[in-house]
Amino acid sequence: MTPALVLYAIFSLLPIAATFWLSFNSSAGFNTASAFVGLHNYQATAADPIVWQSLWHTFLWLIYHVVLAGGLGLALALAISRLKVTQVFFRTAFFLPHLVSLAVVGVIWANIYDPFYGLLNTGLTELGLGAFTQGWLSDPALVLFSVNVASSWQGFGLYMLLFIAGLQSIDRALYDAAEVDGASSWQKLVHVTLPGLREVTTFVVSLAMINGLKGFATVFVMTNGGPFYQSELITTYIYRLAFQSQDHGRAAVLCILLSLLAIAVTIAFNRWRTRLSR
């Protein structure tokens, strides 16, 4: 027990305490003498419009990720769960992107989105759909969504596997009974499959939300928060403050804010799950 507690203290409690300490100090880096500044970092953070913008982007990012990655995972799980011979092939193929590092995913998708040479715009043009070509990473209205697609592409495979496991645990007798009652495919989906996936769905959604909150690598690689902060997330802004501007005090405040967000999301979600299971 004691070694575990020591490790926990070193790797969790101590960094948490250090983050709180940093948030009340002005620090330009670990080598500098820091000075206690009270709530100054908190005030400066609250007055910074980019913080609020990145908070909103983080919220959107989370929603996009849950819907895109979670939704695609569910759709593909439903599509391939009935396959007998080819299921292993599709399961493996769809899971493969999850094995690619997010940084590499960022580079791949940045090239796909290249407005002049990218697969997406050139493909659309070749298909005679040139009117639909976009500046996927330059249009302020699109950029966050575009980057999230890349991130979700990397993530959906895991969710798909979880949904497939959930689907396999649904009692076949329920489908047989539904068929005897003359239920259509849609009715079976709505009244048998989805309720049967409730536990898995809540797990997938909570996992996707936490992954969404941790979103960083693809944004960092593909846009570095730009253009003009339009894809800035709390996480990328923390990096910008801590490692580019060496403003560790304000970065610590944002770390605390991010932690509070994660805690709030988890509590709200658990309450919702409890209500559902009643």
Binding site: G29, T223, N224, G226, F228
Partner: protein, 417 residues
């Protein structure tokens, strides 16, 4: 016999121990583009010469994962497993970040002690001395000179020339666009690249003295005298001479447009020769000209200290790092680098009788011979840099006007210490 053997073994052990004790490794952050064969050949040669001159020393290159601008250098130093000496993109803005974080050693004393002050241009030494109240934290390795790169064959075939006036430049841009080419490529996702074109536009519109005043906070950035360059960029975007989509490109994406001749012009410095070589571009076809200006004598490249040597405070080999810098500043090494086909920059002191290896470098050196204007990316305070780069992205993506962007710049400059 046994005694003799035991004695020999002991002597060998002592010798080996001594060799181990003398063995030292100098970890060097850099050089960039070491994967390029010509660059690798040059630097491996320098490394071998240094190791030969310093028995027992091994130089280990650490390929850079980034610069001070994206926090890579700071993270490497912070790790405490990082480099002993660093070669990276510099300039006062970037140096301020690592200097304020107390991550790099002051080198002022070494300038006197080792004679470094006499091994760089006097004006450069004066400039460095004036930056941090007399304390110097960097040793310049190369200077930048940013201007317009163009394709000689494309321009010759169309009968185009880089003109002398802004009006003439706008006419040229329109002619290029009418021909179905992108007039100018830019990759502002790479922050430096955003600053290259923008700095050129500020210089062209306002001149060196005015931009210098703005950088020294003697004139506001939203003063029309300074903001004209930003308004010009806005107009170039609105006219479609620079596509808004380019806000999503990085340096590689934008240079690909230029190397493939889908773009007619690109703003870059001498270092672009390395990118061009890597892309298989025929450097004999590259032309270089400063951004046209209506102000007399202001059609000059922008630049400043482009790359410098830094010594981290946690360098495990500070003495060896100083020796390495001595070596890099020596005539032998500097001339070797200047004459090498992999040469990509203007050196920090005059190298008489040395001709750059590529014709385009000769053009760049000639354009910069009368001095260079300011590249604000190099001179702006660290706390303003991010706003500067994001503002340029905002301008290119059409999210902010030139005037409004410069107001944001001014607000940030007013906050900066």
């Amino acid at each position: 016999m046994l005694k003799f053997l035991a004695g020999s073994v002991a002597a060998l052990a002592i010798l080996a121990g001594g060799a181990v004790a003398n063995a030292q490794t100098l970890k060097m952050w850099g050089p960039e583009q070491i994967a390029e064969p010509l660059v690798a050949e040059l630097w491996n040669g320098i490394k071998a010469d240094f190791e030969k001159a310093n028995p027992g020393v091994t130089v280990e290159f650490m390929p850079p994962t980034g610069t001070i601008s994206n926090g890579a250098v700071q993270a490497a130093i912070q790790s405490d497993a990082g480099p002993d000496v660093i070669l990276t993109n510099s300039g006062i803005g970037r140096i301020t970040i690592v200097r304020n974080a107390k991550q790099v050693m002051p080198l002022t004393e070494q300038y006197e002690k080792r004679g470094w002050k006499d091994q760089i241009y006097p004006w450069l030494y004066t400039e460095l001395k004036g930056q941090f109240g007399g304390e110097i934290y960097e040793v310049p390795d190369g200077l930048d000179a940013l201007g317009i790169w163009y394709h000689k064959d494309v321009f010759a075939a169309a009968g185009w020339e880089v003109p002398d006036t802004w009006k003439g430049f706008e006419t040229l841009l329109a002619a290029i666009e009418a021909k179905g080419l992108q007039p100018i490529a830019i990759g502002p996702r790479t922050t430096g690249s955003a600053g290259h074109l923008f700095g050129n536009l500020l210089q062209s519109a306002s001149g060196k003295e005015t931009i210098g005043q703005a950088l020294r906070k003697e004139i506001a950035w939203d003063d029309p005298k300074v903001a004209t360059g930003a308004v010009r960029l806005q107009k170039l975007i609105e006219a479609g001479f620079i596509k808004k989509e380019m806000a999503g490109l990085d340096l590689d994406g934008a240079s690909r447009l230029w190397f493939n001749k889908r773009a007619a012009m690109f703003v870059a410095g001498p270092w672009f020769t390395a990118n061009a070589r890597k892309a298989g571009y025929d450097l004999a076809n590259a032309g270089y000209a400063p951004m046209p200006s209506d102000l007399p004598g202001e059609a000059i490249p922008t630049g400043g200290v482009g790359w410098s040597w830094l010594v981290p405070v946690n360098s495990k080999q500070p003495d060896l790092a100083m020796k390495w810098i001595d070596f890099m500043l020596s005539d032998a090494v500097m001339k070797k680098r200047a004459q090498a086909p992999a040469s990509t920059m203007i050196y920090p002191r005059e190298l008489k009788g040395i001709e750059p290896s590529t014709p385009v470098l000769r053009e760049i050196f000639a354009a910069a011979a009368g001095g260079v204007g300011y590249n604000p990316s190099v001179y702006l305070p660290a706390t303003v840099l991010d706003t500067y780069f994001q503002m340029i992205q905002g301008l290119i993506s059409g999210q902010v006007t030139g005037a409004a962007g410069m107001q944001q710049m001014q607000a940030k400059m007013a906050e900066a210490k």
